[in-house]
Amino acid sequence: MSLRIKRAVGAVVFLLLVVFVIGWIQNAVTPKYDWPVHNRRSYKSIRGAFVEPGNSLDAIYLGTSQTFCSISPMDIYDASHIRSYNLASIGQRVPVAYYLLKGILHRQSPKLVVIDASGFFYTEEELLVPGKWEEMVDSLPMSCYREKLDMMKDIAVMQNRQDDWEYLISALLPLLRYHSDYRVEEDAFQRLYMSQPYQRKGYVATYDFIAVDPEEIRTAEAMLDVNDAYANDDDNREVLEGCIAANEPYLEKLRDLCREHGAELAFMKVPVCANTRARGYWSANKHALTQAMADRLGVKFLDMCYEDLGMDWQFDAFDGGIHVNHRGARKITARLLDWMQQEFDLSSEPNAKVDTEWDHQSEIWASEVEYLDLELEHELLGFLDRVQKGDYTLFTTVSGGIGEYWSDEAQQRFREVTGSTLDLRDAENAAYIGVSSHGAIIEERRDSKACAIEGTLADGLRYKATSNKAYGKRSGMVDIWGTDYAPDARGIHFVVYDNNLRCVVDAICFDTSTEQLKAVQETRYQYVMRQKLIEYVHRRM
């Protein structure tokens, strides 16, 4: 081989190597976050839609975070075998929704596209928050390169930087934007690849119940009332008209795009109870404007804000009524399914292969839901029921005395679930600690003042726990591997350790000095648990 050929081959091989390394770096630094674990971006959810088998989806949902917290496609599938996907993303602007839909329509031919009206009221200024676009540009797979470029071009024009050549090309080479992100995002190098179908189908299940203050709950009637106390400055009809007018061309494009692909477009509004002081509130003005838009475009509109879905805002929302948690989502999803079945024909040819895949994912989803239900349980007896069913180790500690509302029934169930031999009823002014698993007590202690235990479980789990009859800061602790998981409130604390996931999966305190046994959640366990759950799901996929 002559030197020239050798060098030429060498140069080509080297170049390929460089391209490979750059590609790897790009993959590593591009964010792949999943909301709410990382509290940002919806990359995984969006990408998941593009790994679904071709032409297998019957319906697509678009919208904002309110939408992806509210509609669970897997629950719809379980109830009806309708296969759908939730393509909503954080603060999704209508034009962004348009491009996402355009991208997914390369692979899928849904019969129905439902877009949530929560994103219709961004002001023109808010429409061009670049981050909201860039996230979705990067979430689209490379096969949608045209949509990526078009989105980048649009947002560049809006920012008046269409000459910024590198910005435009960063649609396809996100490395240009993200190469220095490694120091912002702690685990940017984790989970480099994602190719498996996403069993939640774009739905984001949330598992907190940060209860809405009953005073703040806005009923449907209140929301319909134009003179509603909350419907103040923000809820200005003229401003809102301007907002929806700015979105109208995009909504028209969206409708036409659906028509071209033989799909029907529909509007919906998932329920909220947020007031105007929070973002994402709903009002009679917004309803009327959306209805007018729906009429003008000739699409159907389901406004679930004014329907009685049996929402219990005290426990169905996780952040004061802007977003619902999984318990709320179930109710909303059921209502949407009901409406879809009534108004649209979504029947499709059965596809055994795809159905098998979905059934498998449904099973995984079901096991995930068990955890969600445990976390969302806010009633003492219900909680004890759920603990009894799973493979858990339960830590119990009492802080500030057991309290007068610890009933006979509670005592009875507690004994059955934990195997405790001690009676807590006369321990009103005493300390108590218990460790149990599968209905058998491992260790328990009672003391008239304070007590503490320390030990190691069979699987090597090291724990410490304290209890004190006097209530004070950290008077009841459950320390596992150096982290105190107890909610640190007055009453009886439970910390649930999952023997399979090998992590804490719930931590709750029931205030037995109040009649309603008010539940307080401690969320410190959640980050680790979400990671473990993701690993668990990936193992089973």
Binding site: I25, R40, S65, G91, P130, G131, E166
Partner: protein, 526 residues
């Protein structure tokens, strides 16, 4: 296009490809087309001025050449002349040639002065004569400070008989606007660079490889070091009212690192690109921060600019008739030794003033130049005193520690100059200097102030490592190692690993690319 952009890389690649596939005879035309296209891509209208300059030196060159030929013919025809007659004729010829050169230089300097100083002049006028003239807000033609100097050097060299006239306008144009260097130098001499541009170069694997390596090294300096440390210097000098004492020392150090990495990195990119095309650019930086005195520093920093001022301002001024007359008239009053020095010192101070003005329109740049000039003059004047002290204290001056002390001392003086250069004004520079002397806030290293100067701990660490790499390479170069040749001798696996690591470092740790909206990045409720 910016030399730190993907577009520039693509441009260099395309030009190189086009260059090597054009027929040898026309290769210089490829360079010309690329260079003109590159220049026009910035600003079509302002580009006119560069073309005007190129025409002036072309015509000026032809006129000088005509004069030279006239003289040659005269000498041939007048065989009757004796030595002094020939001498007179030669003098006459020289004067004529220099007149042409001076005319061309004057035209170009006038253009440059108008563009650069119109606003400063009007502002000053308004201030002192309470006038109300509006500012012109002229946009500077890109690279004007560099190509004007290059243009002048051509006609002056021609008049001095140091280079051949160029009769092909387009070839001259190519030399004036050769794309890799026309925006930030180095300032080339016609005699050295032009022939390389016209001569066809064949594809040389090794040279192209070396060129790319040099570009990569330049990108490392520019993107990883300069564009990172710039955050510190901008923060400190941009909000100098908020800081005091040692923070300014850190700021000055940051700016000292930044400006070197930025400028010399740019030179590496430019020289690398030119090297790929077979053109060797003159050396512009020779590890200036290892200098042991200010005058040595200026021989190693922006070498081509210093050389330009030396050859076209300092030399002619200090050995001019005017200087000789001044010496003679001072001799009686001040004695022969000092009388000889005075004109030279004056010339030097003038050169440094011009050097300062060249850097920017403003009094602080004049002060910056004067600072350098005065330091050099003082250094020379007090050399005997220093020697005496060294001898008295029996200091060993042939060891490393003494050289290190000299380097650090020089670096400190340079940093002083940087403060004058970078501060928002002359007064502010003085305030900063005073604060450094007065406030000794050593605690900024422990109370977290350090991490609030634009870079967090991790970024500072990264910067530290990068500067360490730069320092190591510089020391090796200083010791005479040829890094690229040394790498060439290594095994393939090691070489490739090194290249890929270097590329990955620049890609991952470089500061570049369109930044995305930080506000949109944070989850904002919904």
């Amino acid at each position: 296009m910016n030399i730190v952009s993907l577009l520039y890389l693509a441009f260099v690649a395309v030009v190189a490809l086009a260059y090597f596939i054009t027929p040898r005879r026309l290769r210089w035309v490829t360079l010309l087309v690329a260079s003109v296209a590159n220049y026009l891509s910035y600003d079509l209208k302002l580009a006119v001025w560069m073309f005007i300059t190129s025409v002036t030196i072309y015509v000026g060159g032809l006129l000088i050449d005509r004069q030279e030929q006239k003289y040659a013919a005269q000498i041939k025809a007048r065989t009757d002349l004796d030595r002094s007659g020939k001498r007179a004729l030669k003098k006459q010829n020289e004067r004529a040639k220099r007149r042409w050169a001076a005319l061309v230089a004057a035209v170009n300097i006038a253009i440059w002065v108008i563009f650069k100083f119109a606003d400063l002049f009007i502002t000053t006028l308004n201030k002192y004569l309470s006038g109300n003239l509006s500012l012109w807000h002229l946009m500077l033609p890109l690279g004007i400070s560099f190509y004007t100097l290059q243009a002048i050097s051509y006609v002056v060299d021609l008049s001095r008989g140091k280079c051949e006239v160029q009769r092909n306008y387009f070839k001259l144009l190519l030399w004036l606007c050769f794309f890799p260097q026309m925006l930030q130098g180095p300032i080339c001499r016609y005699r050295e660079t032009a022939p390389q541009l016209y001569e066809p170069h064949d594809f040389d694997y090794r040279r192209v490889k070396f060129g790319m390596q040099r570009m990569l090294w330049g990108y490392f300096k520019k993107l990883v070091i300069a564009d990172r440390v710039v955050k510190v210097s901008e923060k400190v000098f941009g909000n100098s009212g908020n800081y005091q004492g040692l923070v300014f020392v850190i700021g000055a150090l940051a700016y000292t690192i930044q400006i070197y990495a930025d400028f010399s990195g740019g030179m590496d990119i430019i020289s690398g690109a030119a090297e790929i095309l077979g053109v060797n650019m003159p050396v512009n930086f020779e590890r200036p921060y290892f200098s042991k005195s200010i005058s040595e520093y200026w021989r190693r920093w922006h070498i081509t600019l210093g050389a330009w001022f030396r050859d076209y301002v300092f030399y002619p001024l200090s050995i001019s008739k005017w200087a000789q007359k001044l010496t003679t008239s001072l001799r009686k009053r001040l004695g022969p030794n000092i009388a000889k020095m005075i004109p030279t010192y004056l010339a030097m101070v003038l050169v440094w003033m011009l050097n300062g003005i060249w850097h920017g329109a403003g009094w602080q740049f004049v002060a910056f130049g004067m600072y350098q000039g005065i330091l050099i003059v003082l250094g020379m004047q007090f050399e005997p005193v220093f020697d005496w002290v060294i001898a008295k204290l029996k200091i060993n001056t042939s060891c490393f520690s003494w050289r290190l002390w000299q380097m650090l001392r020089t670096l400190a003086l340079i940093m002083g100059g940087r403060i004058i250069f970078k501060a928002s004004g002359l007064y502010e520079a003085m305030r900063i200097g005073w604060s450094i002397l007065k406030v000794h806030n050593i605690w900024i290293f422990t109370d977290g102030t350090l991490f609030k100067l634009g870079l967090n701990a991790w970024e500072l660490f990264l910067l530290f490592v990068a500067v360490l790499v730069l320092l190591t390479v510089s020391i090796l170069q200083e010791k005479g190692y040829h890094i690229r040749e040394a790498i060439e001798r290594q095994n393939l696996v090691f070489r490739w690993l090194l290249y890929i690591a270097a590329i990955a470092t620049v890609i991952l740790f470089g500061v570049y690319g369109p930044s995305y909206d930080a506000a949109g990045f944070v989850y904002a409720g919904f």
